[in-house]
């Protein structure tokens, strides 16, 4: 595929790796924020091409992983109702709630459907006026333009039987939360390319300045990631802490302004709980006042649902880069992708699942 295959050239990857080796003089800890990048790093063995001094810390950028347990429980409660058609991206179906998951609800007769786009859910609502159609709106800024458009179009069409269970999260407040933690070991960030495709990268300037960390907007193919690491190491070795853009073929400084406009119209910034981390102020999107009629948690009265996470799972420490997956006693034994304890083993983009799949050590 054009703009993908050429960025997977093994020889060129080696060239980047040699340059990174040549420049690295000291140990550096770099966090890749996005789960898609974690997956690519482990799948292609990118970390194994790097000098030993460079440690990649896998960040919290997997929306499936950070959706809090109580929201999963809310989804399960709504999906089990007979009048509901519950629609979701496929990745959410196996995420364990307190007692069950969406696939099991489906197996017991719940009408749970996987959709490719939130607009498909709007279409299902139009075609099934006698049913309540709920879309599970999870994701980072990348996905927000799609969910915002679904709500906006449902409002335009006057659909009364469409609503959304929303657990949208934002990247910059999570970086802020990580950096302000006294345990933080991260010295630089690879920022998530597609989040910046939507949002641009101006909101990272104050973070780079305040915490004196280089932040490099990075793509998802092996050459992109190696290039992003090289740009980061160049900054670290020369004592700079700037925001740079490796992924300029898809990201501009201001991002996608029409998308931001609709996001700002349909959503408002709210505090949000992250699975494994806890509540982070101003780190999520909820529906703006004008659109609260589309809030499934209110519509079905499930907003009260609060639960604690299982104590044995160290996903929170992994999401903050304080532990690696294989350092968990349950990893690969009692906790597997088939029977996950927690967030990071669930999604293929979670650090534990990526290590389990590609690296059994």
């Amino acid at each position: 595929m054009k703009f993908m295959d050429e960025y997977r050239d093994a020889e060129l990857a080696q060239k980047f790796a040699r340059e990174i080796h040549r420049l690295t003089t000291r140990p550096w800890k770099i966090m890749e924020v996005c789960g898609g990048q974690t997956h690519a790093i482990v799948k292609f063995g990118i970390d194994e091409l790097l000098p030993e001094q460079i440690e990649l810390i896998h960040g919290p950028g997997c929306p499936v992983c950070v959706t809090p347990l109580e929201v999963i429980d809310q989804a399960l409660e709504i999906a089990a109702r007979p009048e509901v058609i519950f629609t979701s991206f496929g990745d959410m179906l196996r995420v364990p709630g307190s007692t069950t998951d969406l696939l099991s609800v489906k197996a017991k007769g719940g009408d749970v459907r996987i959709v490719y786009s939130p607009l498909d859910a709007v279409k299902i609502a139009e075609q099934n006026p006698a049913q309540e159609v709920v879309f599970f709106g999870v994701g980072f800024e990348t996905t927000a333009p799609a969910t915002a458009m679904a709500v906006y179009q449902a409002a335009q069409k006057g659909l009364k039987n469409f609503s959304m269970l929303i657990s949208h999260v934002l990247v910059p407040p999570a970086i802020e939360a990580l950096m302000s933690s006294p345990d933080c070991r991260v010295q630089a960030f690879l920022a998530a390319g597609h989040v910046c495709t939507v949002m641009g990268y101006e909101e990272y300037f104050p973070l780079a300045k305040k915490y004196r960390v280089p932040i490099v907007v990075t793509g998802f193919e092996p050459l992109d990631i190696l290039h992003g690491i090289l740009m980061t190491v160049q900054q670290l070795e020369s004592g700079r802490a700037k925001v740079e853009n490796q992924y300029a073929r898809a990201v501009s400084r201001v991002g996608n302004e029409p998308a931001q406009e609709l996001i700002n119209k349909v959503f408002q910034v709210v505090p949000r709980k992250w699975r494994g981390i806890g509540e982070i102020p101003q780190s999520g999107l909820g529906l703006a006042n004008e659109y609260t009629a589309f809030d499934a948690a209110k519509k079905f009265g499930v907003a009260h649902c609060q639960v604690e996470e299982p104590a044995e799972c160290v996903a929170g420490l992994i999401l903050q880069g304080l532990k690696k997956p294989h350092e968990c006693l349950a990893f690969g034994t009692r906790c597997t992708p088939e029977h996950p304890f927690g967030a990071t083993m669930v999604s293929s983009e979670g650090a534990c699942a990526a290590y389990y799949r590609y690296r059994r050590r």
């Binding site: 060129l12 060239k15 997997c62 999870v138 990348t142 996905t143 050459l223 290039h227 898809a250 501009s252």
Partner: protein, 84 residues
Amino acid sequence: MCLAIPGKVVSISGEDALTRMGRIDFSGVIKQASLAYVPEVKVGDYVIVHVGFALSKVDEDEAQKVFEYLKKIGELGELEEPVS
């Protein structure tokens, strides 16, 4: 989850900016995507698509820069090769 992939716009339908749709070719697999957020896109352009929405037009000049940069590193590397 933030997976977004590049594809080529093969046709465009719809007049209204919010409902403009494109047929996008991902190496032979054709899928529909909303072009609501990329009003500047024309047939033949490459776009990055995520959950049924084109999020940006691929900047083809920028796409080449990584390879130009690698070429430069290569040339520098050769200059630094030890003589003996």
